[in-house]
């Protein structure tokens, strides 16, 4: 059964004067999904996020959050939304408690349940020790966490995070990632990042945006299990590369020197087992045998630079 759609963006377009920042973007996010937005600088990630959170009116298209139109019923739509912009929107002169209490009140949490909401948001973001500190005196990492706490304090079904791990130390990054993964079980999360492994570690789906268009939109599992087109192998002594080509499923063998070979395969064939067997039988001294799966990084570079090359050619 398909779970309910929480965010739906239809043909989202945004122009800044003559510049087309986002061009006919479609986006659908279901409950329990974590969508990673990737893209080079200036691709339109932040603009997309601003439109999804109602901070920027789209030039064309529509955003529905939990079935409510952001244009026609902005309040109801925004109630279902938590947003952490690139820079955490925190007031330096307030303490963490005062600030979070204010955020809770802005999101319509009743006075009685506010302390509980503040406490649980602080617990989730590891802020319990700094409750009474002024936000202005906290480090960048802690301010980022306060921003995150602000986005989740009302437990919204949809959480939108613009580069949430910027400025954090590696341990904090791990904690925040774990937190996002935990949030993703019950909420829908959209997350933008420059850090590809982060997207791969946290997200269930990846969308790559380039020049305002979605050029890739697949589950992360698809990246991981993508059929590989080549095998990298290292032999201590391979008498003749051509013997490899006689194996079933091998299309071509390229010698890369120093015993390294790149073995291209036919279609969906997987000749790794046969290669290992042949290597043992022939005593080739097999040192390494590995499928060259296409990584997210390769997909990203391919999609974003191909477009740039096309644009230059045009």
């Amino acid at each position: 059964m398909e779970s309910e759609v929480l965010i739906e963006a239809r043909a989202l377009t945004r122009r800044y004067g003559p510049t087309l920042a986002v061009d006919g973007l479609h986006l659908t996010l279901r409950k329990g999904e974590i969508l990673g937005l990737l893209g080079p600088n200036g691709a339109g990630k932040s603009t997309t996020m601003k439109m999804l959170t109602g901070n920027l009116a789209p030039s064309a298209g529509e955003v529905l959050i939990g079935g409510k139109s952001l244009r026609e019923d902005a309040k109801a739509a925004k109630r279902a939304l938590g947003y952490l912009p690139e820079q955490p929107p925190v007031y330096g002169e307030l303490t963490v408690d005062e600030y979070l209490d204010y955020c809770a009140s802005l999101h319509g949490i009743a006075r009685k349940s506010r302390p509980e909401a503040v406490a649980s948001a602080k617990r989730d973001c590891g802020l319990a020790d700094v409750s009474r500190r002024l936000i202005g005196n906290l480090s960048k990492g802690y301010q980022q966490r306060v921003g995150l706490a602000q986005a989740i304090i009302h437990r919204p079904p949809v959480i939108i995070l613009d580069e949430p791990t910027v400025g954090l130390d590696p341990i904090q990054i791990r904690e925040i990632r774990a937190l996002i993964a935990a949030l993703g079980r019950n909420h829908s999360v959209i997350l933008s990042s420059h850090i590809l492994p982060e997207i791969q570690a946290v997200c269930s789906r990846v969308m790559i945006i380039n020049r305002g268009r979605a050029v890739y939109n697949e589950p992360v599992a698809a990246v991981k299990s993508a059929a590989f087109g080549a095998i990298a192998a290292v032999f201590r002594q391979l008498p003749d590369a051509r013997t490899l080509e006689t194996l079933a499923g091998v299309r071509r063998v390229l010698a890369l020197g120093e015993g390294r070979y790149r073995i291209e395969v036919d279609g969906n064939a997987d000749p790794r087992e046969a290669i290992a067997g042949a290597a043992v039988d022939g005593g080739w001294g097999l040192l390494e045998l590995r499928a060259e799966a296409q990584t997210l990084e390769e997909i990203f570079v391919e999609l974003t630079s191909r477009d740039a090359a096309l644009a230059e050619a045009a």
Partner: protein
């Protein structure tokens, strides 16, 4: 409504958490106290000179002291309003309000209401000076109250205009200079009225911020003056809402 109050409460808290508000209150109170004592000494020296007692101490307080206060507040209010939106924009905190389920009108009214809390503090300090005389002389409290009400309304109008200018820019200092300029121009509109060759000079005289305070200062409570200040504030609040709404597009 609860959104407006929540925003107003936090805004007022933030105003008084900054040293600026305390510095402004201290300086204003020092200068006003200085003028107040001067006026009292002046009054004491002239006492008995007028046989019919036509000028009382209330004239000095409500008339001269509060008249002087308007000039001081014209200088000071832009400093209090400059941060309201400009600083939020500069610190990227405006997003907190614009992505929360509150309307722009609620945000503007909330901030304005918070500012009125500060205005009220100024008015209370202004009331403290004649109050100090209460035990030693007979004051015309109705007249003093009219003067204080006038001050409140005038600061409210200053605040609304300053709020609007603050929503135009991301630099608090530019907002301060801009709203000071705007207020001074509206203030001085009545200069045009002195010149006979200018058409519609009565209109300019009527639109000037200062004229409507004069009658209140004299203790005349004319509802037209009250309505003028309310309309003036309403206009600029409406403009602020329009301006912030435009920003999304």
């Amino acid at each position: 409504m609860s959104n407006i109050l929540n925003i107003a409460r936090t805004e007022l808290k933030r105003i008084f958490l900054s040293p600026l508000a305390w510095a402004v209150l201290a300086v204003v109170q020092f200068i006003m106290g200085f003028v107040f004592i001067n006026l009292l000494v002046d009054y004491a020296n002239n006492a008995g000179m007028q046989p019919d007692d036509s000028i009382g101490v209330s004239d000095y307080v409500a008339g001269s002291l509060y008249g002087f206060a308007t000039i001081l507040l014209l200088l000071v209010m832009p400093l209090m309003t400059m941060r309201l939106f400009a600083e939020e924009r500069k610190g990227n905190t405006l997003v907190l309000l614009t992505s929360a389920p509150v309307s722009i009108t609620e945000v503007v009214l909330g901030k304005f209401l918070g500012l009125l809390g500060f205005v009220l503090a100024v008015v209370l300090l202004m009331a403290a000076m004649p109050l100090a005389l209460h035990w030693s002389t007979n004051l015309d409290w109705g007249r003093v109250a009219a003067g204080l009400l006038g001050l409140f309304l005038m600061m409210m109008a200053f605040g609304a205009a300053g709020l609007f200018v603050s929503s135009l820019t991301r630099e608090p200092t530019i907002a301060a200079v801009g709203s000071f300029g705007l207020l001074l121009v509206v203030w001085l509109l009545n200069i045009l009225a002195y010149n006979d060759s200018i058409p519609f000079r009565e209109v300019f005289n009527y639109l000037s911020l200062i004229g409507h305070y004069d009658s209140l200062r004299r203790g005349i409570f004319n509802s037209a003056d009250i309505v003028y200040y309310l309309l003036f504030s309403g206009l600029f609040l409406w403009l602020t809402v329009q301006r912030l709404d435009m920003e999304r597009n």
